[in-house]
């Protein structure tokens, strides 16, 4: 493949060019209630070619991979030469060659469709076994992808990815009271990673049913203990996106807010983005610009410590590259994205976090939310009251709202129990969704959180 890619882009009259070809195989199965809703396999092959000259990018994606690409590359070079020059450049990297293979026990490509269908049907049945569960959605997905990447720097990287996951959603009903709950699971591993998840599925059914008895929360200001699911979503959605340098470059106010060294939290607070974690769906060895993946501290000991970069944004801001340029598929050029974003664990045990709370909330998971620059609103999955240091009854319809920087300052204690969550979904940005990412956190305690009820 290298020789072919080299032939396509070598010798173009531009400052920089790269080409990425992907081959992938995907299986998806969706079961709704008793019925199979969707089942299909796809075999994709395509690529993306970019040329950069005097500050401008010109990009094309394609499916046909043959000699005609040489012509396409020439066309793009002509187009980019006709554009008015503008400020900007790229951080360049040395010539290099590397092949990265994915670890996998049970390669999903070799697992019969019948076995995949049976697995998700069984999980779905666990939900349906409960009388109060009136409707379910269970989805299975696996993918195998090989990415071939070459740049005009004579840099060549071949990377293999395997991802497997499933999601389960249960809708419970008691008269007019309808409650739903769902969870998603995903790993950068083979089919074996999806087996033996009966406990997770049982929990989905149980929580949906428990929610029928939960009462809506009373709105107000609370001391809140946030679980690892919601803590991770907060780190990614409310804070992580503000660290993306393409956002920062476009927004003067954000430039001020995100200045390196600015203090926003307690000494114990560190938030990182780390694509080098093993087996996570957000992991990779090289990003889609051939930059080595690395752990980047976004907040270190309470202060802004870094931003996430592509080659272009790193050049513009005069900072080091971080390897965060990712594309959801060959149909898109890479843009600045997160990978595995999490809050680094501290020393407190959950019991200690709870013990000091007289009247508060223990809040779990997220049903989505909205962020606009520094303000955020999240709906949680469910919550428990905390009374005299103990978790008591379940409550629902808990939404948290606030200013991300104030909320960071209000984090008063950080647990020691980090857990990282990946699933079938992912992150969306500029029309590229869902990009596989994970989020994580230990339990954290935040004071003065505005909680809205219904």
């Amino acid at each position: 493949m290298k020789a072919f890619l080299k032939e396509v882009i070598d010798g173009l009259a531009v400052d920089y060019a790269d080409i990425r070809v992907e081959e992938s195989e995907t299986t998806r199965i969706v079961v709704r209630g008793q019925e199979l809703d969707d089942l299909g396999q796809s075999f994709e092959r395509g690529g993306c070619l970019r040329v950069f000259y005097r500050g401008n990018w010109v990009v094309a994606s394609f499916n046909v991979i043959d000699e005609s690409l040489k012509e396409l590359a020439d066309d793009l070079a002509i187009q980019v030469n006709e554009l008015p020059a503008r400020e900007g450049g790229l951080v360049s990297l040395p010539a290099f060659e590397q092949v990265v293979r994915a670890p996998k026990n049970e390669d999903p490509r070799l697992v019969p469709l019948a076995a995949k269908q049976q697995l998700i049907k069984n999980y779905n049945q666990i939900l349906l076994n409960h009388e109060q569960i009136v409707s379910t959605v269970a989805a299975y997905q696996d993918s195998h992808k090989t990415v071939y990447w070459y740049s005009s720097e004579n840099r060549y990287i071949e990377q293999e990815f395997v991802r497997s996951g499933f999601s389960c959603q249960a809708i419970a009903r008691d008269g007019a009271n309808i409650q739903s709950y769902g969870e998603s699971f995903g790993r950068a591993k083979g089919f074996e990673s999806l087996k033996g998840k009966e406990e997770l599925v049982e929990r989905v059914a149980k929580i949906a049913i428990d929610l029928l008895k939960a009462e809506p929360v009373t709105a107000g200001k609370y001391t809140v203990i946030v679980d690892p699911l919601l803590g991770g979503i907060f780190a990614h959605e409310a804070f992580g996106h503000l660290s993306e340098a393409d956002h920062i470059a476009e927004n003067e106010r954000l430039k001020q807010l995100m200045r390196i060294g600015t203090r926003y939290g307690v000494e114990q607070l560190t938030i990182v983005d780390d694509p080098t974690l093993p087996d996570e769906v957000g992991s990779y060895r090289y990003d889609d610009e051939g930059v080595p993946a690395q752990r980047t501290e976004l907040i270190a000991e309470g202060r802004i410590a870094g931003h996430l970069h592509s080659r272009h944004t790193a050049y513009l801001m005069g900072e080091a590259i971080t390897g965060n340029a990712r594309a959801i598929s060959y149909r898109f050029p890479p843009i600045v994205r997160m990978s595995n974003t999490y809050i680094v664990p501290g020393e407190k045990r959950l019991e200690d976090l709870l013990a000091d709370v007289q009247d508060g909330l223990y809040v779990v998971g997220s049903r989505g939310g909205m962020t606009e620059l520094e303000t955020f609103t999240f709906s949680s999955q469910y919550a428990y009251r905390i009374e005299n240091g103990k978790r008591t009854k379940m409550v629902r319809d808990v939404t948290l709202a606030g200013n991300v920087f104030e909320t960071l300052k209000n984090i008063e204690a950080i647990g020691n129990d980090l857990s990282i969550h990946g699933g079938l979904g992912g992150c969306g940005k500029n029309g590229q969704s869902p990009l596989p990412v994970t989020t994580g956190a230990p339990h954290i305690r935040i004071r003065n959180v505005v909680v809205g009820g219904r």
Binding site: E23, E25, E35, L36, D38, L39, G40, Q41, S42, F43, E44, R45, G46, N56, W57, V58, V59, A60, S61, F62, N63, V64, L72, L76, Q79, V80, E82, L83, P84, R86, L113, A114, Q117, R331, P333
Partner: protein, 433 residues
């Protein structure tokens, strides 16, 4: 390639169809008054649907070297697929629909850049403080379909569209939008685009305060699709099949104002949804959805039609990577007689909305909508008094569309929607201030 794929499966299955699409899309973008990017997407793909032992199987590919796997996967999937009993359509006479005009291909990257620079120059000269985003999108599409009943058809469609968004930062921020469909080969109407944009921006320079309450509201064509959405979801045959549409059993009943005649028309020349046949090869036709307010029927593909004991309405929509499902082509709302100026003059107080920002769709099928106004103006004593901020409207579209006071006399071409403005006699408006 579609013929080869069909050859590979025939004999192994009861029925099959192969959907082949080739799309050549080029987009030229300007942001904040400056050239931003050129992007080309060349897509080619195949979707194979098989029916074996009465069950449906599906797979798709963009890799011509994986055709063996494609056919194997579709057949393997059919073991678990939905049971169907319909027969795929045979070759029939197809209507002539204008979908391709050579002049669209003259819109080269260089030409689109030139248009963009010229428009920005004109806008800058008239209102330097307006920051303009532009997107030119040129698309050439070729769709081919073959099946085991002997069907073999194909068509080409050329699409050329321009999107304009102007940002005014003055006492808060305010957006104005414009859109032009040039798929029929028209010249780029630079002057009329500039005039509309500048006009809307000028009106928006003044801020106006509206108090919460019930007001007459004029919804301009650009904002209307979001109000029509609950109706267009409810007429989908899939919701008839699943028994989730509120329109079940209400055929030939008057459910909307007599002023509303809504049509799904794949035959319309140069719409971005125009085609001589649907994505299962059923000849295209004009489907009246509501005639003078009377509900006329659902849109079906072969699968939902069979399940509901109805006929396909030629409404199948698919991409190479998905199974067909009922969908929309070009939506037309028949023009009425009203002129905007006269309608506004007759309004003592009210709201004109040019754009909605998707708000909470609390219960889409039930027709409940809550929409934030992204671009709208207060009307006072028959004149536009200024732009409004933090305003949302809420209601039930089945009630709203019974309170239609006027329908505009001209249809605006929005690519796949062809709509006049609609004035609602009363709409619940909520304001922050």
């Amino acid at each position: 390639m579609r013929y080869k794929i069909l050859d590979m499966v025939s004999g192994q299955v009861d029925q099959a169809d192969v959907y082949e699409s080739e799309v050549d899309l080029t987009e030229v973008e300007f942001r904040q008054g400056k050239f931003y990017s050129v992007e080309t997407k060349l897509t080619q793909g195949w979707g194979l649907r098989v029916i074996k032992n009465g069950r449906v199987g599906f797979s798709s590919s963009t890799n011509p070297e994986r055709m063996e796997e494609l056919t194997r996967a579709a057949i393997e999937a059919s073991a678990f697929g939905q049971n169907v009993g319909f027969t795929l359509p045979e070759q029939q006479d197809l209507p002539v629909v204008q979908t391709f005009e050579n002049r669209v291909l003259l819109a080269t990257v260089a030409r689109m850049q030139e248009w963009g620079r010229e428009l920005i120059e004109v806008l800058n000269a008239r209102m330097p403080e307006l920051k303009v985003d532009l997107k030119f999108s040129r698309c050439y599409r070729e769709i081919g379909l073959v099946n085991t009943s002997g069907l073999d058809c194909s068509f080409q469609r050329g699409e050329l569209e321009v999107m304009v968004a102007g940002l005014l930062v003055q006492d808060g921020i305010f957006w104005v939008y414009d859109y032009v469909n040039l798929s029929g080969g028209q010249d780029f109407p630079l002057e009329s685009v500039a005039e509309r944009v500048i006009n809307l921006a000028r009106l928006g320079k003044q801020k106006a305060i509206l108090k919460s309450g019930d007001y007459p509201v004029v919804v301009m064509p650009t904002a209307l699709p979001q109000l029509l959405l609950p109706l267009l979801v409810a007429i989908n045959g899939k919701h008839r099949q699943k028994k989730t549409s509120p329109l079940i059993g209400r055929e030939n009943e008057r459910v909307l104002s007599e002023k509303i005649t809504l049509v799904d028309n794949r035959l319309r020349p140069f719409g971005t949804g125009s085609a001589p046949f649907d994505d299962e090869g059923v000849p295209a036709r004009k489907n009246v959805l509501f005639e003078r307010g009377v509900f006329k029927g659902f849109l079906f593909d072969l699968t939902t039609a069979e399940a509901c004991k109805e006929q396909s309405t030629g409404s199948a929509v698919r991409s190479y990577s998905s199974l067909p499902a009922p969908g929309l082509s070009n939506i037309e709302l028949l023009a009425g007689e009203a002129e905007l100026e006269e309608v506004l003059q007759a309004m003592p107080a009210g709201l004109v909305v040019y754009s909605f920002l998707g708000g909470g769709m609390s219960n889409l099928l039930a027709g409940e909508v809550t929409l934030n106004v992204a671009s709208g103006y207060k009307v006072e004593n028959g004149r536009i008094a200024g732009r409004v901020k933090d305003v949302s409207v809420a209601g039930n579209v089945y009630e709203l569309f019974q309170r239609v006071a006027a329908v505009g006399a001209t249809q605006r071409d929005l690519g796949d929607y062809f709509l006049p403005f609609v004035k609602f006699s009363s709409f619940k408006v909520a304001c922050k201030e």
